[in-house]
């Protein structure tokens, strides 16, 4: 509603300016202008329909995990575009916040893995900061090997557990 009012006001203002400008001879007809102007605001709600790219399943932002080789905590090249996309989104949406959850496979002590998960989450955090996100938008947490997505003792399982999840 507010938007609509502002639009009307603007339109009227423009109309006012326009009507002031002409220093032309009286040959031109002055009156037709106002009527269609009142109708114009109708298309205004259009921008509201614009999708939040975060909810676009085809956007890189739909990917919310980074994966790692064994005992490695740096973001892999394959996952960098994902993290960069989230960095861009966060910098453009300062009101949004993320929680980075670092996870590990079970091949270590769970205390060491708590440290490794922390390092994984921090690696993603550094990249988000470099990409323009603010520290106040980011929280990190490590689950170590305590919250495995998959619990078998094999690489197919372990590789799913070595990850950082980006949660909004």
């Amino acid at each position: 509603m507010k938007k609509l009012l502002i639009s009307i006001l603007l339109v009227n203002l423009l109309a006012a300016c326009a009507s002031q400008k002409p220093v032309e001879p009286e040959a031109a007809a002055p009156e037709p202008a106002p009527a269609p102007m009142v109708e114009a605001p109708a298309p205004a709600p259009a921008p509201v329909v614009e999708v939040d790219p975060l909810n676009d399943p085809n956007s890189l932002l739909a990917k919310r995990s980074t994966y790692y080789p064994f005992d490695v905590s740096v973001v892999q090249d394959a996952d960098k575009p994902i993290v960069q996309a989230h960095a861009k989104y966060l910098s453009e949406h300062p009101g949004r916040k993320v929680r980075l959850e670092g996870n590990c496979d079970e091949r270590g002590s769970n205390e060491y893995n708590l440290g490794l998960g922390n390092r994984r989450a921090n690696g993603v955090k550094q990249m988000l900061l470099l990409g323009g996100a603010k520290a106040s938008q980011i929280e990190t947490v490590s689950y170590g090997e305590e919250k495995p997505r998959c619990t078998d003792h094999n690489e197919a399982c372990w590789k799913q557990n070595r990850r950082t999840d980006i949660r909004y």
Partner: protein, 425 residues
């Protein structure tokens, strides 16, 4: 080195032939023993006189405890029921091969207390080795049995018994976690904390009155201290980031904890009331799993500052760290032996986890287990047994190995996965 490992493995295979199954009365818990001590003392535990049911329970506990140690062999008592030293016919026992016999009686006092009187007799010398009355409150027959087993063990081996000590561990069933305290044989289980968030790293206070542990109940890892008498608990460390790996100093006046509040996992000292937090490692890498030496002067911990997780030692006040483990593989979870002369730890090599023992003087690593998913060792107070987390039949179980690697036992708890065991005082 390789040869020593091979020898150990061969001994274990031979040991497996002596597989013995001690089935539990309650069918809640089962214990398997593999291997035997080099020399097993032949001992006869004569069924006690008095209250029949109590006597049976107590004898059961004494026999199970002694067998689990791997250091004793049970002599058949059939047909001989002496209650008093005067009734003992030593030649009969000598003929059966017993070196010692235990006799006694048990009664319930008017106030409900259980009182057992027992004597341990040396069959060869035909003399009394020990005589004692052991009493406990109603329903604590197992505790009486453990005390008697401790006394027999101490008299016959020269080492303190650990049958009356307790253990703590974490039980995981799907997303449900329980922090459990139990007798060292796994019985008398008591749930200290139960929640749908992970629980990790229980650590006993030196006097056995409190447990420090890591809980994720607030959404991230924080350290709590809980009294085992009142169940009251308080937050010890809940700084931003991860708070974990609590370890008590031997005098109980401070703890080492691992915090990430300044970036990576680093070791800090903190008072049990949460005051005087002081950082003592500055590697910027992962420094974790601190453990105090018995004299309180040093800390063992692990760090990946050298590229892979290895064991280091540093002064407990802070100062330069010295690397203790080298060679192939990675090492985790070091814990001092009670005499301070060595330490146990988890050794990972070629995809397997082993329980390893190392002497400070020789620097030699000795593998005590065959390898698998064996993690988190801790010594019994007498230094003769090591408890650790293992896996069998697709379940997390508790296991022990004697410090010479000869005797092993596996404890299958009621349900779920048993993890993170730690032997208490």
């Amino acid at each position: 080195m390789k040869e020593r490992i091979l020898l150990r493995v061969m001994k274990n295979i031979v040991g497996a032939l002596f597989l013995l199954h001690v089935s539990s009365a309650s069918a809640e818990l089962s214990i398997e023993i593999i291997g035997a001590g080099e020399y097993q003392i032949p001992v006869a535990i004569v069924p006690f006189g008095g209250d029949g049911k109590l006597a049976l329970t107590i004898r059961d506990v004494v026999v199970s405890d002694l067998l689990r140690s791997g250091l004793f062999r049970m002599i058949d008592t059939e047909g001989l029921f002496p209650r008093d030293p005067a009734d003992v016919s030593y030649p009969d026992w000598q003929a059966r091969g017993a070196e010692a016999i235990a006799i006694g009686s048990v009664a319930v006092q008017p106030n409900g207390r259980i009182e057992a009187r027992f004597r341990l007799l040396d069959v060869v010398k035909q003399a009394e080795l020990a005589g004692q009355a052991v009493s406990a409150s109603e329903g604590q027959a197992r505790a009486v049995g453990h005390r008697i087993a401790d006394l027999i063990y101490e008299k016959l081996t020269g080492d303190k018994g650990v049958f009356s000590t307790r253990i703590a561990y974490v039980n995981r069933e799907g997303p449900h976690f329980r922090l459990v305290v139990a007798d060292s044989d796994g019985y008398n289980e008591q749930t200290v904390l139960s929640q749908n968030q992970p629980i990790m790293s229980p650590a006993w206070s030196p006097d056995g009155s409190h447990l420090a542990y890591v809980s994720f109940e607030t959404g991230h890892a924080v350290v709590f201290i809980q009294s085992l008498y009142t169940n009251q608990r308080k937050l010890l460390a809940g700084f931003s980031g991860t708070n974990s790996a609590p370890a008590w100093s031997p005098d109980g006046k401070q703890l080492a904890v691992v915090l990430t509040r300044d970036g990576s996992s680093q070791i800090y000292l903190i008072r049990p009331d949460g005051s005087e937090v002081r950082r003592i490692t500055f590697s910027g890498e992962i420094d974790t799993e601190p453990n105090f030496s018995p004299d309180g002067q040093y800390l063992l911990f692990i760090s990946d500052r050298g590229g892979s997780p290895q064991v280091y030692r540093m002064p407990a006040k802070g100062g330069p760290a010295e690397r203790m483990t080298f060679g192939e593989g990675a090492n985790f979870s070091p814990r001092y032996s009670p005499d301070g002369k060595g330490f146990v730890y988890t050794h990972r090599v070629s995809g397997k986890f082993y329980i390893a023992l190392q002497d400070f003087q020789t620097g030699q690593m000795e593998l005590l287990t065959e390898g698998g998913w064996e993690k988190k060792p801790s010594f019994a107070p007498n230094g003769k047994l090591i408890m650790f987390a293992s896996e069998a039949r697709e379940r997390g179980i508790l296991a022990t190995v004697s410090s010479d690697g000869r005797v092993k036992q596996r404890m299958f708890t009621r349900s779920g996965d048993a993890r993170e065991p730690v032997w208490g005082p």
